[in-house]
Symmetry: C2
Subunit: 457 residues, 2 copies
């Protein structure tokens, strides 16, 4: 897909932050620069004085104590699960699934459930500087609608799984519904799609072969949970004779379109396979730890061997925050602790993973992920002036190691200003959130029946 050229008459905004981290070639942090936004696009990055002269009629946004970064990309979530936050804490994975998540989903899953949960998740993500999310869930039309209502960019997953649900009867039905949805939304510039087979253990060869064929035909990314737990890998070997990634490779799925989520348990051959075929890994450290899947992949080694790394929050039932700044910090800390090298996965590499790494995983690196002319204006301003923490020397390191997502002050998606001084500004988004909040107590009471010892009511 090419970036549509903004008409020369599109309004121009000049965004002048104190610090700019473009995540591009050249210096990691710039000062005195202005980002020129025309229509949906970044038209230029230039010295502030020159920008003011070149665009005397433009609106000016001065961010005197802010770091401007590319919009954060949450490369893996199940947005609708925001409604399930706190329903299954401190439970082993089997009980987490069998006693909580599956019964609740079985009882409540619907278009309305997915829409309401996704609105809550989109609000949380957007306010925390996430401009794009890659999702996997049932009723993806509701996820897409939530993203459109809130003004976020989304890579909506066309889910494929061997068992039926309220949403569909099986792989063929899921694919047909998903492709139809994709077709109906192809005019929306901020909505893209991935093929999202759930996992190698929950999708059989026939459906995976269909996914591989569609991915090649339609140039669509394939977004799939892989090697999340040691048990899953061992059971796969027992059943199929090979590790899951080897089976995916045999089915033609290990290539630059592959987005392997979690990838906690990788051996050397797995890593070489991913690296040699240009695949991506989404690291979801909080979820991997909280569900006791393991400490996570060796990110420093993945990068060294050439695997593209993105960062994801996973869903709210296993995290419990959709906070990519916190997630990125934990990714950095774990990479150091695991490798024994405090220089491993430094703050600048981490910001790259949380932006351009996500864009590359989604095949969108030509459109988003960095602040460069010609890319879409997905931008985030972070106010670094909390006085109590004001001693810093590298604003990117301060962002990664010290800041919180509550310091995100302004957000633009595709050139649209969607958050200003920590307030969402569009009536459509505000209306959507207000409506969901009014319904939230109903969901909460219904979900509470599945949670013994619920003390909220």
């Amino acid at each position: 897909m090419t970036v549509p050229t903004a008409p020369p008459t599109a309004p121009v905004s000049l965004i002048s932050p104190r610090w700019l981290a473009p995540v591009a070639d050249g210096p990691a942090v710039l000062t005195g620069q202005t980002v020129v936004v025309q229509g949906t696009q970044i038209a230029a990055v230039m010295a502030r004085e020159a920008a003011l002269q070149a665009y005397p009629q433009a609106s000016r946004i001065d961010l005197d104590e802010h770091l401007l970064i590319p919009g954060l990309i949450n490369a893996h979530t199940h947005a609708a699960m925001a409604l399930l936050r706190g329903t299954a804490d401190d439970l082993p994975l089997e009980r987490w699934l069998h006693e909580r998540i599956w019964p609740m989903e079985g009882a409540l899953m619907s278009e309305a459930f997915v829409y309401d949960g996704s609105v809550l998740a989109c609000r949380e993500m957007l306010m925390g500087g996430i401009t794009t999310f890659s999702d996997m869930y049932f009723f993806p039309e509701s996820t897409a609608k939530a993203a459109l209502d809130l003004g976020m960019r989304a890579a909506v997953g066309i889910i494929v799984i061997d068992f039926p649900s309220a949403y569909g009867s099986g792989p063929q039905d899921y694919l047909a519904k998903g492709l139809k949805l994709r077709d109906s939304l192809r005019h929306e510039p901020t909505i893209g799609f991935t093929l999202s087979p759930h996992a190698p253990y929950s999708v059989g060869d026939a459906a995976l072969a269909d996914v591989a064929r569609l991915s090649a035909e339609l140039q669509m990314p394939v977004h799939i949970h892989v090697h999340e737990t040691a048990r899953e890998v061992a059971e796969h070997v027992a059943r199929h004779g090979v590790r899951p990634l080897a089976r995916l490779a045999a089915l033609g799925l290990v290539n630059p379109e592959l987005i392997g989520v979690h990838a906690v348990h990788l051996d050397g051959a797995d890593i070489r396979l991913l690296a040699n075929h240009g695949a991506s890994v989404v690291h979801c450290p909080h979820s991997n730890l909280k569900l006791a899947s393991g400490i996570g992949p060796a990110v420093a080694r993945l990068l060294k061997e050439g695997v593209n790394v993105a960062i994801g929050t996973d869903g709210s039932a296993s995290n419990n925050r959709l906070d990519l700044i916190a997630e990125t910090r934990t990714a950095c800390l774990l990479a150091k602790g695991l490798s024994g090298d405090a220089a491993a996965f430094n703050a600048h590499q981490a910001l790259r993973a949380a932006t351009l790494g996500g864009a590359r995983a989604l095949g969108m690196q030509d459109r988003i992920g960095s602040i460069e002319p010609g890319k879409a204006a997905d931008l985030v301003a972070v106010d670094l002036t909390d006085d109590g923490l004001a001693t810093f020397h590298d604003p990117v390191a301060h962002l990664v190691y010290s800041a919180t997502n509550q310091q995100v002050s302004d957000v633009w998606v595709n050139g649209q200003s969607v958050v200003v001084k920590r307030q969402m500004v569009h009536a459509r988004a505000l209306d959507a959130v207000a409506a969901v909040r009014a319904r939230n107590v109903v969901w909460h009471n219904r979900l509470g029946q599945f949670v013994p010892g619920n003390v909220r009511a």
Copy 2:
């Protein structure tokens, strides 16, 4: 030390939160309860209606959307290092020490440096719900003054180290100065002391024997870095023939007064030694990961074998936030990831470690760490009503897994209200912070000379 009985005429406040987590025997979360504070103490915890009848003249503080918890106890920090935040990110430990921390400390260390850094740290900690901190640094008189100015409770460390500094010439001098300081502040109810020998590798047998004798004579805790890195343990074995904890045991230091900080590298014998002698471990997960010391101690195993566990932030140069809620969350997540058991170190155990565990480590479990009659009124109210995250079923799990320290709204230390609706309220504290902020730019510029590539100026 006994708790002074409040005079019957001391003013009474009735604090009525929506949820109360007393960290005591009985239900983990209570509703409809009021904490009766008289003078410096908790006089009672009782049903709200009964409290209103019993104390009709009392002032009433209704916290309708808040969880009230015991004040958090940061069981290990170097508060003054708040000035060094961001000066040494992403560096291996040797370069961290030799190129940054030691040269900066050598050039700048003074009473003024320690006071100013400690004021910034106390502000950050207090606003984040930490009511007590255990410190280790030079010029402890400045740390004590900062704690007094900000109205925090502190366990000030009497540092002991074999090398000289701007503060003192060696172990005897450090001990003499520290004990004199302790004597001069013995009338301050919120200032206590620990003996704080730096580490087994930096303090010789003679000084450690002095520490052991003083600890026994004065019933003082001994707060020491132990088994932080694998290299330190190996070098100790090469030099002394035994692991560090075994040498401390031979010197009479492994007993209920021992506060072993970090303890990342423990074998089974080390754990049994700590458990059998009633010693405590302070887990500082962010620092251990960031400096690549390792993944941290196996907290679930420590608790199972009976070792008291507390949580610490360490200093700002290796963390970089003095945020005990985030630190506790990471401790939970790591415990699960390390043990492979998602039920390990659950949210309630974690809150206990961050409160009563810290109190027990400091020998203050009779005075602080839980909300019970007779204890000092060190209390923290956390506003759980961020709408975007409002779906929860257990307020303690929500605090640990979803909340941030910016949701701390009200803080009491020793019965004094020190933070109200996220504002510090005492003139002495506000004046101290304002004065330090005015000087902060000077420290920042001087420190910036040690940080190549500093882009802030």
